[in-house]
């Protein structure tokens, strides 16, 4: 789905999910590793504040990935 949206729209699509090898297999170009399968963009077990902080960090990283020139599939890891 990620790949076809990118192809059809010609715009960068950043995928956030947990199992990186699957994202590489399906052809996602900009990849941000998520937190966990049932909550890719959050840390709900750590309380509301940490949850929101984790989500914010991941989304900022995804937005950063969209503005980054890449030539091949790239995994954008956290600092």
């Amino acid at each position: 789905m990620t790949r076809e949206i990118e192809k059809a729209a010609g715009i960068p699509v950043v995928q956030i999910a947990t199992i990186v090898p699957i994202m590489l297999t399906v052809g996602s170009n900009r990849i941000v590793p998520g937190v966990a399968i049932p909550h890719p963009v959050g840390e709900p077990a750590k309380g509301p504040e940490a949850d929101r902080k984790a989500r914010r960090e991941l989304l900022l990283r995804a937005l950063g990935a969209m503005t980054t020139q890449i030539d091949e599939q790239t995994i954008f890891e956290g600092k």
Partner: protein
Amino acid sequence: MTIRVVHYINQFYAGLGGEEAANHLPESREGVVGPGMQLKALFGDRAEIVGTVICGDGYYGEHMEEARAECLKLIGAFKPDLLVAGPGFNAGRYGVACGDVCAEAGKALGIPTVTALYPENPGVELYAKKTVVVQAADSARGMKAALEGMARVGLKLAAGEPMGPARLEGTISRGIRKNFFSTTNGAERAVAMLLDKIAGKPFRTEYEMPVFNRIPPAAPIKDMKKATIALVSSGGIVPKGNPDHIRVSSAETYGRYDISNLDDLTPETYESVHGGYDRVWASEDPDVVLPVDVMRELEREGVFAKLYDHIYTTTGTGTAVAHAERFGREIGAQLKEAGVDGVILTST
């Protein structure tokens, strides 16, 4: 000498539970568990399942290195001659775990390995060349055939017998080409193939082209402050009550929902209907899968110009690749039309 077999299965087939038990740590048990019973009957006196190794799919997917190391230790302790994993059908995480444990056990223990997966399972593309994958149906309805295939191929591999072509063995091609002498020369075979093609009869190429699911990356967004960003998800987050009846798995449709008046997805307004992960967290706060709340916050801060007014959502579990690609094409065309500059797509 009886062949010693270890069987790898997930928490579900071990009877430990579904998603609530998906983080089950690797464990081993003597003898057979779950589908191992049928496998044991198929092996008869030719092979003995000496032990079963069980691991939760969520744990394997999220902690691959630790899970792999622990499973290899448990498998190795049984001193097996053969590892059989699954069948994993079209279960994505289970298929990846089956493929990974087979590939790694084959390498580390030097034993033949076999699993059974549906051809579209992501485990196939990742591991088909590193183990032997018997073609299975997309669901447990194909259990009997998958177990028969694994038993037959497993015995053959353990005995060191050469494998025939994948299409005859009922396995997925490992991309291995073996030379043999044909009774007809290339020109004769090519003409015969052409005649079959013209006549509308089935014909088979002698050299299959690889399929690459790759596209060149789209150009980056130059000015994020002026950009419109859309949210898309295969995590099964839908308006409460699932008005468009998107299937909990094997989805054939997606939904498009207006979020222009929403700052936050709450349990009162949205829910997860995804049938492939534990929905406890997503039900408490759908934003942990489809992050409208923080995207709205970043929009207000001016990090980007606008959060697109609609979200697109489906359930990505057991979904046919052809459907997922169509969703992508249709959504992509609509987003282009709407002037969206970039997409964040979350998956579970």
